[in-house]
Amino acid sequence: MNLWQAFTKKRNKEPKETTEVPPTKENQKNNSIVFSYKKVVEHIQLQFGKEQDFRSREIELGGEIPATIFFLCSLVDKESISKDVIQPLLLLPNNNEGENQDGESINEFVIKKCLYHAEIQVENQLPTIVTNLLRGNTILLIDGIQNAIVINTKKIDKRSISQPDTEQVIRGPRDGFIESLETNVALLRERLPIADFKVKPLEIGSLTKSSVCLFYIEGIANPSLIKDVEDRLSKIEIDRILDAGYIEQFIQDNPRSPFPQVKNTERPDVAVGNLIEGRAILMVNGSPFALIVPATFIMFYQSSEDYNERTNMTSIIRFIRLVSIVFSLITPSAYVAVISYHPELIPTAFSVAITSGRAGVPFPAVIEVFVMEAAMEILREATVRMPKQVGGALSIVGVLVVGQAAVMAGFVSPITVVVIAITTIGSFSTPAYSMATGFRMLRFPLLFLTGILGIYGLVLGLILIINHLISLRSFGVPYFSPISPMNWGGMKDTFIRAPLRWLIDRPEELKVANKKRVQNPKEVPATNPLGPENQKGGGS
């Protein structure tokens, strides 16, 4: 039965397509060869006539040639239409001299001498005309002309540029991407005024027809990477792209991994920094997030601020961040392992405090930690989803119930609360939310393994996680580089952040076309103008 269905389905598929295609094809043929003003006007009126925001305006050029203007008033700048399109058309002098009036000359006259608007194109295919109308363009049809004049009058409301909430910095630019792709392109172009900066437009989504842009710098980005990205994008088959996240899920290498293999950012400075390193950026109209590919593990722990602040302090902060990840992953498991399997590890003086704290707790340590971790996750999720007005109430509940009350009720030991706190704070200090979530969720299976096998289970779990991280690839780039495979140049920007002057090479693992950031570095000038060397130089 199934096979039969599959067979018939396959056979039915082709006729279906052909029934859909011919009308448009016919239309195209009709309209491209004999473009009839009346027919097109009728067609558009028929298709859009009843729409709420559809407007048509009939005018006469020079007092005799009928013309029609179509637009969707929800998407256009009406002022611009009246001033730049209709006004000049109506001001045309009457044609009394009886000049030659074939379509070509009128067309040329209107475009070249009449319309004021900056962006005009000519279309003669009905489907394209309809698409343009739907995209907020104004269609001008003139009797006797073999094509339609499409004027870009699109104007939709967008929010102003503001600081991104997900990537806060103390020191650094305050602007972030918004939903409008055009504005985002502007933000990037403004920072990269070079001709090699390429913006490739694409369209994905059969219904949403979202415009997607691929950004890269020619001459730096590896051409095979760009080709790979384009290939993966072209393979996407979906009806909707509502956010950049949709694309991420289609182009990532390993969909089952808990770790993100594409980095997203809301900050133009981060995007430009990555473009210059030789990576590619993807943006979708309607999403303020830019996708950075390829992404490596260590990128998720770097914040843009690392490069804005001075090097030594940044290096220490980066180290703290790395420690906090490790904490967020293993603290609960390590605690359980020590308490319930290897209490001999605890120094004698401290063991008294621990046992007295745990004296009244009825559960084994695993259950205790597991319940508290789950409660913490619920609290976190609730804080994200709640309306801002009740957020304050929630934090009070969280502090009181999860912290103090639970301890006083003898439900958990005070040390467990400390462990949970360390874990949660550790996971919040990760700059990238997606990575932090990955690690936060992984601590549950780790806890499970530890509960069964003690420290052996913990180590086995960690081995599995590390091996998985190393075996991951993001667009062919090993996820764990530059740690393994090792690359000394990359280590300058991994655990520490070396001075900018030392970071002269682009990341090795990207195999960029142009490895050196600065082609001919100048002699480094002495930092102190009154330093001994300079004084000497001045004297001679």
Binding site: E344, L345, T348, L453, I455, Y456, S471, F480, P485
Partner: protein, 371 residues
């Protein structure tokens, strides 16, 4: 099996070190001193030098056949039937070795950490983790080995460093005063060279050679790897024998573990360090078993003409598992290890030497590396 050749000398070195330093290290001072009393350090160095020679034989084969693994090159040297026969011996031998060291590992765990946990669980979990890891290609496995290297090498150096003050230099009498004969020394060094991790450490090289960036990388990596692991192992034996003396070192099954129990950090952070060092032994067991298991499935895949070693990753699991469960108790295990290891010398040293000689006589060479 056309992976790009990417493995570097450093990665080769670290893999060899990781493979050589396994859980057998815990028993190494005992095994060495059982034979020659306080001459243990000397025979460790001698035995490891022997292993070094064996590794160089494999490396020399690698120079002649830079693109082929051992089984592929042996086909060219001694013909198909013979190479299959010996290949099968290698395959079988490493199944036994990997099974036995996994069992040894489980014995250590159950005697120090989990007295009540059945061996099947300990062996099974470790083998499953190893099998999952071998699903990666060999380059990735070398990346993985790379990451664990610092976690194995530095703690061992720390152990040596912490135990150094406890050492009594009079305990070390490497040449005289230890009631031994010259024959004991020869036997002892053979026994050291026949320890399972030595086989694994030298044979992993034969798998890496076709995947290294160039043969030069493989040779350099193997030399440094042998020297580094040799130094680490000799240091451990030196310190352990130095601390315990030749009589006490023979009593515990795993004298190095007892050593970790004795040492303390200069400040009181943790009550005991042996549990922390147990983490290191788990890691080193993992890397050693990973290498051994890789040898098994890689040779197996070449023997059965499979496309990739990945096919056998899970298929070999039950066989190695059953092998690991074979020994009845720990004494039988060490007996088996000793006998099998000594016969294994024929396979891991004599056979490659034979191949090298025949290749030399018949003037066989592998295809020149096109890269």
């Amino acid at each position: 099996m056309r992976e790009p050749r990417q493995i570097t000398a450093t990665q080769t070195m670290m893999t060899i070190t990781n493979s050589m330093v396994g859980v057998s290290v815990l028993a190494l001072p005992r095994i060495a001193s059982e034979q020659v009393n306080s001459g243990a350090v000397l025979i460790t160095i001698l035995g490891l030098f022997l292993a070094f020679v064996g590794m160089m034989i494999i490396a020399a084969l690698g120079i002649r056949f830079p693109n082929d693994s051992l089984i592929q090159s042996s086909k060219a040297i001694i013909g198909r039937p013979l190479s299959y026969l010996f290949g099968f011996f290698i395959f079988l031998f490493f199944i036994i070795i990997v099974g036995l060291i996994t069992r040894e590992f489980s014995f250590i765990l159950s005697s120090f950490l989990f007295p009540d946990t059945p061996a099947t669980v300990l062996i099974g979990t470790m083998l499953i983790v190893v099998a999952i890891t071998t699903r990666n290609d060999i380059t990735t496995i070398s990346y993985i080995q790379f990451v664990y290297f610092p976690f194995i090498a530095f703690p061992i150096l720390l152990l040596v460093f912490l135990a150094f003050p406890e050492m009594d230099i009079r305990q070390l009498r490497p040449f005289v005063g230890n009631q031994t004969t010259f024959q004991d020394f020869i036997e002892g060094s053979l026994i050291i060279a026949a320890l399972p991790f030595v086989h694994i450490g030298s044979f992993i090289l034969s798998i890496y050679i076709p995947h290294t960036q160039s043969t030069k990388h493989a040779i350099r990596g193997s030399i440094f790897g042998a020297i580094l692991s040799g130094t680490l192992l000799s240091l451990i034996v030196l310190v352990t024998v130095g601390v315990f003396g030749m009589n006490d070192v023979r009593n515990p099954l795993w004298p190095v573990y007892v050593l970790t129990r004795m040492i303390q950090l200069p400040f009181e952070l943790l009550e005991r360090l042996d549990i922390l060092f147990l983490i290191i032994w788990i890691l080193s067991a993992f890397t050693t078993i990973l290498s051994g298991y890789l040898i098994v499935i890689y040779n197996g895949s070449q023997l059965f003409n499979l496309k990739s070693h990945r096919v056998l990753s899970y298929l070999m699991l039950p066989i190695v598992f059953i092998m690991a469960l074979y020994p009845q108790d720990i004494l039988q295990l060490y007996d088996l290890l000793r006998t099998v290891g000594l016969y294994g010398l024929l396979i891991t040293m004599l056979y490659p030497l034979l191949l090298l000689l025949v290749a030399f006589i018949r003037k066989k060479r592998g295809a020149v590396n096109e890269a």
